[in-house]
């Protein structure tokens, strides 16, 4: 509050700064993803002569009980998590967008019904619903993506729905209806374009949650199969070696995950600042 106010021309352009931050974070994440996704599997092949080594220059995160390099496994796992997180939060955002369009149609009973479905989804603890869906789909990546998108659309839908309810009462909407346009036409032509920024913001804001739920579920044994180099698998494997003092097996991979989550979160917040008309001009 007590900031010195510079004259307008000397103030750094806030929007430009945010834009630079967004691009930087995006580049870091994309590089990490490409390195992980294109990584040669030989880099974390078992090597029994190198079992359970503490971190060194050659193995920055140490090695596990099969002599696999934990650094390479972590990078691979992060790229897997990012892929699942992106797909799932994308699917969640699409569901939310459909919900938004339905809300924009302006039928009261539909609106009540949607609210009921949102309450229903939020009424079952996410972890429980995720395990249920994982059981139903027989575990694995497909189950994870379905489960995470079905549990994470509500947050985005609430934001989009709030936006839609505001727009729906505007005059130009009424005018358009009075000019004889159908509800669907108004929803798609006049309301949908306003939801696009919210769609992307919601998508990126749910992304970190999606990643955390993915690795959490994998950690509990209901996510990816045990041979995958996923962060959840790495951490649950490390549990057996913790009492022997091998903290690095869990510490570094988890910290790397937390950093990725933080970066994506920062990206989402910056996008929100840059795209949301209400805060963009601050």
């Amino acid at each position: 509050m007590k900031m010195k106010v510079l004259p307008a021309e000397k103030r750094p352009n806030r929007r430009a700064m945010i834009g630079i931050v967004c691009v930087l974070i995006f580049l870091i994440l994309i590089t990490l993803y490409i390195v992980g996704a294109s990584m040669n599997e030989l880099l974390f092949e078992p090597d029994f002569s190198q079992k359970l080594l503490p971190p060194t220059m050659k193995h920055p995160f140490g090695t596990d009980f099969l002599g696999r390099d934990m650094f390479a496994r972590t990078i691979k796992g992060l790229s897997l998590s990012m892929f699942i997180g992106a797909t799932a939060s994308g699917a969640a955002a699409v569901i939310a967008l459909i919900v938004g369009i339905v809300a924009a149609l302006g039928k009261t009973w539909l609106d009540h019904f949607l609210n009921w479905v949102i309450d229903l989804t939020m009424g079952i603890p996410h972890t429980v619903l995720l395990i249920l869906i994982a059981i139903a789909t027989g575990r694995g990546i497909t189950g994870l993506i379905i489960g995470i998108s079905l549990t994470h659309w509500t947050g985005i839908a609430r934001i989009i729905r709030g936006e839609v309810l505001q727009i729906r009462s505007r005059r130009y909407i009424t005018a358009s209806r009075k000019l004889g346009k159908s509800r669907l036409w108004v929803a798609v032509r006049h309301i949908l374009p306003h939801m696009i920024p919210q769609f992307f913001i919601g998508l990126v804001l749910q992304f970190p949650h999606a990643i955390m739920h993915e690795s959490g579920l994998t950690f509990l044994g209901y996510g990816m199969p045990p041979e995958t180099p996923a962060i959840g698998i790495i951490l649950s494997e490390s549990m057996r070696y913790l009492s022997a003092g091998m903290w690095w097996l869990a510490f570094f991979p988890g910290a790397a995950l937390a950093i990725v989550v933080l970066l994506i979160d920062k990206l989402g917040e910056s996008l929100k600042l840059a795209l949301d008309p209400a805060s963009a001009q601050e």
Binding site: M1, T127, S215, G221, G254
Partner: protein, 330 residues
């Protein structure tokens, strides 16, 4: 939902409508839970038996299917199951060899201790830290704490649990390595202090996330209130104890509501913490039963839905009783 509640007005009528809505939600969740778990490929008891004992005749398979009711259509099975649940028979847990209701009862007692400890801890500390941040909004201490809270929000629960375990229990040796009581101890002879000692790390783990969330929300609310006209007026009159007299009550409502509304995350957090610390509560039973013991799994699922529902209901009732605007029906 809040605005709808406000329009209806009187809290009691509110509660009635909320209950009706709740019953429909509960019923829908039983349908979801039942059908999702019944399409599971690996959990058919007959197939599990045939795989373990090859060479069973088709006639015997049919007889077994009839015994287990598997020859009936899914809807009929669901109706039977729901009737049993409503009459208090939740089925038989195959992995514990005891009725599901009994297992849930025992496990819930351990879990509720864990969840309540985490809930109270995160509530008091989160509110306190949020008040400090909001009171000094924009100053150094606010910016530092806010950064810390934002980072805490991004840290996966299962990782922080492991870090606590490694640091406090392996390296420092302050706390025991998992379980809810010393290994091999007679449950009747374990003192309350021993139990609390085993509870500290899991509870810290569960409260980690919700603490930061609550602190951030409280900060925003308090910062808003401190900017308001009536605080300025109170300051102008030279009043003392402005925070306590004018601000605290206003921000207590959203904080309390939020704490009661967070039962879903509380349960999810306890599932993870109980698995890390081998704590014998509902969460560890849930993950263990999901693979082999469907009756117990379904029972715990329903129980968790009920638990979350109760939290939300308390939040709503509190809201409509405490907030004079909702009570009046503005």
């Amino acid at each position: 939902m809040r605005t709808a509640a406000g329009a209806i007005g009187r809290p009691l009528k509110n509660v009635g409508i909320y209950l009706l809505r709740g019953v429909s939600l509960l019923l829908a969740s039983t349908i979801i839970a039942f059908f999702l778990s019944s399409i599971a490929p690996q959990d058919d008891p007959i197939h599990a038996y045939i795989q373990a004992n090859p060479g069973v005749s088709a006639e015997n398979v049919a007889r077994m299917e009839e015994y287990w009711g598997l020859n009936q259509p899914p809807v009929a099975r669901y109706v039977t199951w729901l009737k049993n649940i409503l009459s208090g028979d939740m089925g038989y847990s195959t992995s514990n060899r005891r009725p599901v209701a009994e297992v849930i009862g025992v496990r819930f007692r351990a879990s509720i201790a864990l969840m309540m400890a985490a809930w109270i801890f995160s509530g008091i500390l989160g509110f306190g830290v949020g008040c400090i941040m909001g009171r000094f909004a924009g100053r150094l201490i606010d910016r530092v704490l806010k950064r810390v809270c934002l980072v805490m929000c991004s840290i996966p629960t299962f990782w922080i649990g492991i870090v606590f375990l490694v640091f406090f229990s392996v390296t420092l040796g302050w706390f025991p390595f998992g379980l809810s009581m010393p290994i091999g101890a007679n449950p009747d002879e374990v003192s309350i202090w021993q139990r609390l000692h085993h509870l500290v790390l899991p509870a810290l783990t569960v409260s980690f996330l919700s603490f930061a969330n609550l602190a951030l929300v409280t900060r925003e609310k308090l910062a808003d209130v401190m900017e308001s006209g009536y605080i300025l007026f109170a300051k102008a009159r030279g009043e003392k104890w402005i925070l306590r007299r004018h601000a605290l009550r206003n921000i207590l409502i959203p904080a309390v509501t939020m704490q009661f509304g967070s039962f879903s995350e509380l349960f999810g957090g306890s599932v993870i913490a109980e698995n890390i610390f081998s704590y014998p509560g509902l969460g560890s039973a849930l993950t263990a039963s999901g693979k082999t013991d469907l009756p117990l799994f379904l029972g715990i699922t329903l129980f968790s839905v009920l638990f979350v529902f109760c939290g939300n209901m308390i939040a709503n009732i509190l809201y409509s009783f405490i907030d004079p605007r909702v009570k009046r029906g503005d």
